[in-house]
Subunit: 160 residues, 2 copies
DNA sequence: TTCGCTATGTCAAAGTCCTGACATCCATCA
DNA sequence: TGATGGATGTCAGGACTTTGACATAGCGAA
């Protein structure tokens, strides 16, 4: 029986360190994206759109962990700057599939390169196997917390 | 020469999965803290204060990754509810060391227990060794990104 | 001592994001 | 056919957080 178990010292709490790393990553991304005149949500939108052209506003919102409303203003900003295009009317349903413009692709290339550099700096000193473990473990954590995830699917085994 | 390397597919990008896990954790914490009438920043403040009594506003802010101004309003709210006490005048310098009241300790016990349950759900299926690895790896990531961290200190070796 | 330098607490303003609500469109089923 | 539910885009409104600025208090060097 686990009786009244509480969170231990913050330095040893997974949640605390997870938050710490996420904040540090956000700040570092913000720093390298600022010269490109991009915010983190804007970059996230471009990155996702580059990988999956035709995504709708709602789908982009889910993919970047924000609300539809927030993503909408992001898209409007990117549209005004000519980095993204959306049809004026919906072809099917109400979805407005967004796409990158050539200028958007250029911006994305620069931004994605900068962000990749941040990722590499973050993972400096970690072996490829350990980076893969980190990826798998974090994915498992997210899955375990997703609502209605009563199936604690184990993470892939550690790569030696 | 690393030539124009960009961020790969988001599912395989450490930064993306890190954000995903952090958002899921935040949502899960919010859900279990709501019945206790506590927000995540409020709980974070209580938890830190429980472990390190006498922390000042600025120190609490740094420890919870928010600004002094935000922490100040959090403290004011907790003070009004009688969970935290601060001296009216500063004994040394301008720092106002905060402390938990007995009621604050009670609230913290309940909240910390609930949050610990979330952490355990998040780490379900992960061996203790792997949880420790996650902790060490995330700490190393945060350290690598902290400004002025030119010393890529390697993470502790993986525990078999 | 006196002059910077840093850190703290606090006030005001702006920005960002979310919650709530509504109309529209498609899909499913009775 | 009509009805119900789910999903999308959009419009305010409000809550939360940050940025900017200021006065104050300690600390170290000239």
């Amino acid at each position: 029986m686990t009786q009244q178990e509480t969170v231990g010292p913050v330095e040893n709490a997974v949640g605390y360190v997870l938050k710490e790393a996420a904040v540090a990553l956000r700040a570092a991304m913000d720093a390298v994206l600022r010269p490109l005149q991009l915010t983190v949500p804007q970059y996230s939108c471009l990155e996702l759109l580059g990988q999956r052209p035709g995504l709708s506003n709602a789908e982009l919102a889910r993919g970047t962990f924000v609300t539809r409303q927030s993503m909408n203003v992001v898209l409007q900003g990117l549209e005004e700057r000519g980095l993204v295009t959306r049809p004026a009317t919906a072809a099917r349903g109400r979805e407005l599939p967004a796409e990158l413009t050539p200028a958007g692709r250029d911006q994305l290339l620069a931004a994605s390169t900068a962000v990749r550099a941040v990722e590499k700096r973050m993972c400096a000193g970690l072996s490829p196997a350990r980076q893969q473990d980190l990826l798998d473990t974090l994915a498992a954590c997210a899955r375990n917390l997703s609502p209605g995830a009563d199936t604690p699917v184990p993470a892939p085994p550690r790569t030696p």
